[in-house]
Amino acid sequence: MELAFKISTAMKDVPTHYCPGCTHGVVHRMVAEVLEELNIRERTVGVAPVGCAVLIYNYLNNDFMEAPHGRAPALATGAKRARPDLILYTYQGDGDLASIGFNEIFHAANRGEKITVIFINNGIYGMTGGQMAPTTLPEQVTTTSPDGRDVSQTGFPVAVSEALATQATPGFIVRCSVHDGLHQIQTKKLIRRAFQNQVDNRCFSLVEILSTCPTNWGLTPQQSLEHIRDNTLQHYKLGILKSPEEV
């Protein structure tokens, strides 16, 4: 039978360790589909983060390096400078990228490294048991903010994409979401553009994706998607924050 939707060959045929309904899996599949569609899988090197996606190298069928916590942009920088013919991408959570690794991503973007960054913002440290992240929403309950995030003590959610978009260096910085079909389709398109920029040797590209962590949010998978729609989107605006065509 002909297939109108088939499983990407850039995805290894193994079950993932992610919790049921976790959108890490959705984004993994989109990255795999893009690598296949652009026909770049064989010259692509991913950099795995520390966080729930630490085992991404078991799931996507391209080469991988494993970075220390938050340091994925440094590994990608080195590999890309040594081998400009390769396609380099990092896949990082918000604890990894926005907290311990903020310095790394900020300077990689400012230097305009021609890499692609997939930034999963689920507003919490998933892997370690649901601690507060810099991206956690005000009043959100986590294991380290049991009474809800108090912005007078811990500040407001860190808007990484906006911060990077203020830099003068040309770049492609977007925020999207996977909370419903329409946004999933848009997210796939933006991931494709982020990789196409690198194929065309254009600029640094970062795609921030609002994601879920049903387990540590204490919600069902569907309630988690609705939580993004009703709450997360109040604090994070979607859209193209910077694109190389503008500069």
Binding site: F5, K6, P15, T16, P20, G25, V26, G181, T220
Partner: protein, 77 residues
């Protein structure tokens, strides 16, 4: 006619495909798979319009959409 193909052994029963389907084609089975999850199954195949939204939303690469004959593409993916 589109046909939903579900790899039941991979399903984690998260129900996202069920909410994503505009045609109420899918349902959660009363049986469990090897992993112990109540898996998704096709409850009403003739209602399926082949929109692919169930497959696009599935985090675990469970769903493929088969095709016999012509299909309307509601969107590029």
């Amino acid at each position: 006619m589109p046909r939903v193909l579900i790899r039941q052994e991979r399903c984690k029963g998260c129900e996202l495909c069920i909410y994503a389907c505009p045609q109420h084609v899918l349902a959660i089975s009363e049986n469990i798979n090897e992993k112990g999850y109540f898996f998704a199954e096709v409850a009403d195949q003739p209602r399926c319009i082949g929109c692919r939204l169930c497959a696009v939303t599935c985090p675990d690469q469970v769903i493929q959409i088969g095709l016999n004959g012509v299909m309307v593409h509601y969107y590029d993916y």
